[in-house]
Symmetry: C4
Subunit: 230 residues, 4 copies
């Protein structure tokens, strides 16, 4: 209902508002954000560079955070949720439900992108799976994932956790970290920065090479941010 | 007069302020937004990709909403108006007048773009009409129109309807949904997302292939958003 | 001194604050904005499209308005000043001084750009002068100048004139109108939208073809906005 | 701890909060900002133009200022710190510590970028060192560095110094000055605008040609801004 979505009318929100709604919002936002992101990769011609995928990922993330952030916190990324829980910005009870919703959203988003793009694009881009560039050592790819996930999660924790420093501009700053991450690191590791972004296309396309990179990198960054913030 | 445009001076605004002015604003805003959008398509060289039209559509929409939104709500899109009326954000009396003004604005905008561009560009791009890509099935085009119209209308309803959650940043977020929609889906269905954007160039250029896609897609999305919001 | 630049400390500002400082600010801002704009045209390779000049003009205008707007109003454009005076947003006493400063700023900016770019680029681009595209009728060029100047000046008048509706975001919206104007109309008339932008490079490079277009277009738009606003 | 990072809880902050934390923040922010900037240059194909490096530098600077600015002021640039100290926005005691942290951050950032990029890119771009274009006279390069550093530092001093005029949008405006600077001047001097950005890659790659340009230009601009502001 309208009151639930837009406001803080009641002093003691019920279970629906405190637990179920945020999870549904994480599912919906992850599906939207990641379907747009995956589709932008599928339609990007080979050799066209990372500009369009960077804008599509970053700007759509900014919008979903801006629009849904005051219901769920606007994570849409398991590594972000891990760090926010560690920093005290979310009750630990919601950690696993959020992860489940985000990873399901990633798979739904990847499926949706597959359904919208033509088959040839899908095959040419391995279903928009995050890929370590052939000429790159795995170590560099892990490094890129750590550095830019750190930047992303750090912007979330500083800009959106804690009532006092939370501003409407935080959603835009978080989106910009993704844009810069893909512009600078996209050609090395794909600048995935998000296990849900990695898992969905991997499941849908069956491309699992170096898949662990996209879990270890963001998770390490999440723990690093939590240590610095504490 | 200045008071009418800038303020809420009087407790009981008269008919001019409540009905006529918002309609004129929708007409003016749709004309400006859609003439810029159509012209950006006409001048875009074939094969140049969707970046420039994406920016021209999205940024000009952000500006007209930002500048005119507090007079009319800043819809400039019949599907948006449908959803906002369903969600209680606009009196149903204004539904048909808004639609008339937006569709008229679309035709004026398409005419204006035709007048400003050279004839060859106009013919090469079928007058900037929204087109289903030749290699795409119609089903995928409808899917793209539904998904991205959903994203656009969802951002409007969450960000701009309801006094409490309305922020000046909503106009920018709404513009960004259009940018991401064209970047990711433009090569499939044109990412029209707006029946007024579709009708204007169709009338002016006589290009009507698959025209229903651009009404069914956004309208379905509008109903979907209303169901979720309620 | 610091108090003068940043604040409204005194109830009755003296002549320096009310008249001399705003003029100097218009001179400084026009010089900065127009030197960046001209230089971005000079370094843009032929055939590279209007994206980079569009961003350079629009974003630098957004910054100078954002940074200097609360001292002078942030016009940096004689057509804007004309319209703001007509709408009651500036005392008519300052009309001619503002114009003088803006046109001087345009010439200084064009000179600065000439000094920074290499000679070949300067000659290849006729010193970044606004040019009517060879394949375009002059009527279309005038049309583009009127439509996009209207959009720009309308955003200024609605977003920045009048204490109540003035917001920090107005500066960004105004900059975005210039970006969309150059993206959509740049290949037709150059989307100059500003007599100071036209005069400076014309004086410096001696290129005067169709120069009147860039005065008639913005001036007509300024009068049109004033009529609608009143 | 959380209180230290997010708030102004105590009336008399201790030495940690007033001196050590701002310096660490300058070190962290400079490292992040400059590693992203350098990496974006290393991965940019030759002949691809300045758009991607411009966005990567400008947007990442906007984010670090937005996220860290209320702890340290968000300089990440020795020339900015010089000017802010001259304008009274920072105690002179912190001048040398800030410089040390910024220059160290520049070196760490350049090292990080070297570690993440492949060796061939590193060698092809001289480690992302700021370079005077071969066809350009040194005088023009110095001019570019002065003009755009002036624009950058002016935006900082007007938008972020002084409690009253400081706004969250200042961080974005400052980032935009860097974007426009690189778009318009990048092909002439590299639009470094920051001695820390220049020193790091010079040390890491051993490329020192015309290195003084990137100290003299920004420093002159810093002094110029201070003179105008006072």
């Amino acid at each position: 209902s309208r009151e639930v979505l837009t406001g803080k009318n009641r002093e003691e929100p019920n279970i629906l508002e405190r637990f179920i709604q945020p999870c549904l919002v994480e599912l919906l936002g992850s599906t939207l954000f990641l379907s747009i992101g995956c589709l932008s990769v599928l339609v990007n011609p080979h050799g066209a560079g990372p500009l369009l995928p960077a804008l599509a990922h970053g700007l759509s993330l900014a919008v979903v955070i801006s629009v849904l952030g005051n219901i769920s916190g606007g994570h849409f990324n398991p590594a972000v949720t891990l760090s926010v829980v560690c920093c005290g910005g979310l009750t630990p009870i919601l950690l696993v439900p959020y992860w489940t919703c985000q990873l399901s959203g990633g798979m739904l988003g990847a499926l949706l992108a597959k359904g919208l793009a033509d088959e040839e694009s899908f095959l040419n881009h391995s279903g928009a799976a995050c890929m370590v560039d052939g000429g790159t050592s795995v170590g560099k790819a892990v490094g890129v994932e750590i550095v830019f996930s750190f930047f992303l999660i750090f912007a979330v924790v500083m800009g959106a956790v804690g009532e006092r420093s939370r501003t409407p501009l935080a959603s835009y700053s978080i989106g910009l970290t993704v844009i810069t991450g893909i512009l600078a690191g996209g050609s090395i590791s794909g600048s995935c920065l998000n296990p849900a972004r990695a898992l969905g296309p991997a499941v849908v396309s069956g491309y699992w090479d170096y898949h662990w990179v996209y879990w270890v990198g963001p998770a390490s960054a999440a723990i690093l941010v939590s240590l610095i913030y504490r």
